[in-house]
């Protein structure tokens, strides 16, 4: 993975010229990620506004698939070091835990 990542960044410029596009491989995948987020939001609103049962059911199935696609694109980026994640600050987590308010009795 590491080697591949380095190779990519090194040949990015040349590669884009050969492919006849202005986007690097990394940017293409990033654009896909952004698109998946966008369409996910669209389906979210669509389902909120949906009143017809069978349409709503299909939309929910589709949205699940869109979310799965989004995750696959994210994973592809993450594996190549194009989308790095950071673990949560443990000190802040424990502080937040200490400050949790008790729920009112039900």
């Amino acid at each position: 993975m590491e080697q591949r990542g380095m190779e990519r960044s090194g040949t990015e410029q040349k590669g884009t010229e050969q492919r006849g596009t202005n986007l690097s491989e990394r940017s293409v995948v990033h654009d896909c990620l952004a698109s998946q987020k966008m369409i996910n939001a669209t389906y979210n609103s669509f389902i909120e506004e949906s009143a017809t049962a069978d349409l709503r059911r299909d939309l929910q199935v589709i949205q699940k698939q869109e979310q799965d696609s989004l995750y696959r694109v994210f994973q592809a980026m993450n594996q190549r070091g194009w989308y790095k994640t950071q673990p949560a600050d443990q000190q802040q987590v424990s502080q937040a835990r200490d400050e949790l308010k008790p729920m009112p009795p039900s």
Partner: protein
Amino acid sequence: MPGRGRSFNAAMRRRATVARPVAGGVPPPYCAKRAQAGRLTRAGRGDRRTPGNDAGVAPITQRGGGHVKNLTQREFLYLKDTLDTEALLVEKYAAAANSVNDPELKRLSREIEQTHRSHYQTLSNFLGGGTGGAEPGRGTGTMH
């Protein structure tokens, strides 16, 4: 640009009927049956109502998959927008698959392209089975 949607629909339909069986390794879309049903009812699209002419108060009544569907106006408007977006994403992932060299990314792009294609089919069934005015032989160049 107004003619683009129609041409694209024609292209989508052609690919759905011609190209899909060739795509090996791609799981069949969950809506394959309904998409098929939609295609079968398309012959009668002449007597389909034009959704755009509805006043917006009464639910839109349409035929799809062999039975009548009632959409609200709001659903119809969302449906139109979402169809356009799915069509755009089919193009986008096709372009992505062509532009990347990494075989894994290529495969991923092709697979997601197929899911968007099946979503387009599923959604178009709610417009009454057909995907709109057929103009075969026009505008296929926009696809690839």
